[in-house]
């Protein structure tokens, strides 16, 4: 994955290549970006909203980091490590570093972080991402600079799993954990002097509803290639701009240097004149790894007493729908052409795990109609819809997020595609919380939805693939696999997660993808191409398709001052 100029003079980079835009190494300056929603807390251990996560990425560090551009594991606060022959025990040597208040960072902080995350009273949202086979990691600290982490079983991603661990300062949060008030600690009302940082920036000001301001952390441990201190920026400002149109106008007028999220396809034409004038950069990051998906309720209990169950829970019905959608036209309508057809959850954007050889359901109304006829569905009356032999109409309700434009547009387009097949779709857009609630209760026919991933290794999203997983959304949390193909996927995923040989893991995961494509528990039509935009004065950025696309590497970003560019800036 990579990026290229909008002009198309440079193509997206090959897999595993990190390209850094501009070699500007200007030190100092202020970068202003936007934030669509405010942080609900500064406590990343108990909350995963985007703003909280972004603030955590700017102010905290990890033991190891998965480079978002190359997907390689890089040392961070763990300077070096060794792995035991059984690939289960990692011995990490910690870097000499200090929190922003001067307190040394030691192995006690690492132990405390695990303790807090695994403490049931803390209700940490990070806990599930640090389990192997549902069991926690065992962590010991022989001395202040050594940590030994033992996995309960072999785990394919290995030490990359520690990228999920946000380190917590023991000296600041130990009392809250002991008192059972950890979830309330580091709330947005906490005096900012109480927050300490291990990352490139220190949170110095929070103006509710307006902005979050960070100053460079003079004690940040990381240096650039020349041994110079990082970060380059003196200050980073995140302006809270809830409206996407207003956010775009601010970028155009130079009041912010970059958008925090990707540019919508419909906004590209708006930005192009400024790109041509050299005031803005518009970069294509590649194909999104988080495509919208569409799935039916596959819980047996849902269809036990519903006459539609005899055909709606059959894979042939889903295959017919897949044949009935012209993906090229779908991309043109929903994403204004900025999308590529896909046939499974792993998109070409995830080059390490993408399988190009999946079963493809090409656009064919004839094939779709034949599959539906095979299910006993035919038009038995004067209207345009199919009925089964009992006269039950081929109709279902499709729930989706209200306010998510691609999902709402995609649902409407899908309804129109299924009309010629004789399938009626009632699209209902509801708010996010209600949608998730109905999904968890199994109270739905079908849902159009999206997941946001922060890691591209499928072993790190096992909840989606495993039948017992909380992310196995078509039939969540099964005690035993409900179908033979789900058991097959479970078995293959367990083998894949336990293997440390990448080629073997890829081979096993290709099989998983093939079984998925055959049974289509979720349908995928198009993955959008992603673009970001930034002011021409912003340099040394290495954007990726994973969020946050630019600020994941905020420590190396530079800005040109007006004097050096001759531009007005803000």
């Amino acid at each position: 994955m990579g990026w290229r100029w909008w002009s198309g003079q440079q193509q997206p980079a090959d897999s595993g290549t990190e390209i850094v835009f501009s070699d500007v190494s200007t030190r100092g300056g202020v970068l202003t970006s936007s934030l669509r929603s405010e942080p609900r807390t500064f406590n990343r251990w108990v909350n995963r909203d985007f703003a909280t996560d972004l603030i955590s990425q700017l102010t905290q560090s990890k033991l190891v980091r998965v480079n978002r551009a190359t997907q390689d594991v890089e040392p961070a606060l763990a300077e070096t490590w060794t792995v035991s022959p059984d690939n289960r025990t990692f011995t990490l040597t910690l870097r000499e570093a200090a929190w922003s208040d001067g307190t040394p960072f030691t192995s006690a902080d690492v132990l405390f972080s695990f303790q807090a995350i695994y403490d049931p009273k803390a209700n940490s949202v990070l806990a599930s991402s640090l389990l192997v086979g549902g069991r926690p990691l065992a962590v010991t600290a022989p001395d202040t600079r050594t940590v030994v982490i033992t996995y309960p079983g072999a785990f394919g991603p290995g030490i990359a799993m520690l990228d999920n661990l946000t380190l917590a300062p023991k000296h600041k949060l130990e009392a809250a954990l002991a008192a059972g008030t950890f979830p309330q600690a580091w709330g947005v009302a906490t005096p900012l002097t109480e927050l300490v940082s291990l990352g490139p920036f220190v949170l110095t000001r929070y103006e509710p509803g307006q902005r979050v301001i960070f100053d460079r952390n003079p004690r940040y441990w990381k240096k650039d290639a020349a041994g110079g201190a990082l970060p380059y920026l003196d200050q980073l400002v995140l302006e809270v701009v809830p409206d996407q149109n207003a956010e775009l106008v601010r970028l155009q007028s130079g009041q912010i240097d970059m958008l925090q999220q990707q540019v919508r396809p419909e906004d590209i034409a708006t930005l192009r004149p400024l790109v041509d004038q050299g005031k803005l950069q518009l970069l294509e990051l590649g194909v999104s790894t988080d495509p919208d998906l569409f799935f039916f309720n596959l819980r047996p209990a849902k269809w036990a007493s519903d006459p539609r169950g005899s055909w709606m829970s059959r894979k042939e019905f889903r295959q017919a729908i897949s044949h009935g959608v012209d993906r090229e036209a779908f991309a043109n309508t929903v994403f204004l052409g900025a999308g590529v057809p896909i046939w499974g959850p792993v998109t070409p954007g995830n080059q390490k795990w993408f399988s190009p050889n999946l079963t493809r359901y090409g656009f064919s109304l004839d094939k779709a109609k034949a599959l539906l006829a095979g299910l006993g569905l035919a038009n038995r009356d004067a209207d345009e819809w199919l009925e089964d032999e009992q006269g039950t109409e081929a109709r279902f309700t499709l729930l989706t997020y209200r306010g998510n434009s691609s999902l709402e547009r995609g649902s409407a387009v899908l309804r129109e595609y299924l009309r010629p097949l004789g399938i009626a779709v009632d699209v209902v857009a509801i708010e996010q919380g209600a949608l998730i609630e109905r999904m968890l209760k199994g109270d739905f026919d079908a849902i159009a939805f999206f997941f946001s991933s922060s890691n591209l290794d499928p072993a790190m999203s096992a909840d989606f693939w495993l039948s017992s997983g909380s992310g196995h959304i078509w039939n969540i949390g099964q005690a035993t696999p409900a179908t033979a193909w789900e058991k097959q996927i479970d078995d293959l995923m367990h083998q894949m997660m336990a293997s440390v040989d990448h080629a073997e893991r890829k081979r096993l995961f290709d099989q998983v993808q093939n079984i998925f494509a055959e049974n289509l528990p979720a349908l995928y039509f198009v993955a959008p191409r992603m673009y970001i935009s930034a002011s021409a004065r912003v340099g040394s950025i290495s954007p990726t398709i994973l969020r946050p696309q630019v600020l994941w590497a905020a420590d190396t970003i530079t800005v040109r001052t007006p004097a050096s560019t001759g531009q007005g800036g803000r």
Partner: protein
Amino acid sequence: MGRYLLRRLGFAVLLVVVASSASLLLTQLAPGDITSEQALALDPAARARLRAELGLDRPLAAQYLSWLGGVARLDFGRSLLYSRPVNSLLGERALNTAVLAVAALIVATAIGLPFGVYSGSRSRGLGRSVVRGLSIVALSVPPLIGSLALVFLAARTGWLPVGGMTSAAGMDASWARWLGDLARHMPIPVLALALPLAATLERLQSQAIEKAVREPFVAASRARGLGHAQAIIRHAWPVSLRSVLGLYGVMIGSLFSGSFVVEVVTSWPGLGRLMYDALKARDLYLVAGCAASGAFFLAAGTWIADALLALADPRVRSQEAP
């Protein structure tokens, strides 16, 4: 008059309690709660613990009664979203909205009333037609479009900041510079709010003046030798204010509670945005607090308008006298 205003005050308190209670109960009854968004990241046991910690596992009646007990002590509870007292969140945001609302009301009054008097006191003419046409345009444009158009204008010209309440550097500046910074950020949201209100006032004032100039006492004043303009200002306008002041109450309330679109588009950190965030996250106590604020301002606006009306029009006082 005292009894009249006291009765209106009782109505205001009732309005606040009913509006906030209804908001809390409706938010609670809708599917899902504040933990729904994290439901896919938490196992069921962890989510149950979280719900218990937040008190969401208690029966609805128990939650409501405990909240109502707090309201009686003017404590609207603790925001589930921000883990902060609702009162403190409302305080900081209401002040921001108040700055916007008061400025918009002044601008709307300064534009709407004089133009209303002007257009209402003329039976024909180009000026009257132009004023009426502009008012209809301002009334027809939805707040979202109006706000975006003003933001776009600011962006194109570069004359004013396109959003926010202050700039990042403003907070470090002296009071005078901070006020100057605030003033530079105000025109866009203030105009977005004020223009439709000014148009409403102009139309209302215009019709009221038209009616008032037909009253016998205006004709009598002209017969006594008073000029047209003086007769309008001294006799017709005070009488016409009755219907205009009646609207002010609703306008004040709607400015405080209904400026949501403008606040979102112009990134103004006020009550409207707070309510929107609270609703999205299903933070029932914050929703109820925001609804209470909106109802309070509506009631206060109506109460102030009633008081002004009673002061301006002796007939109101005489009707309310025992």
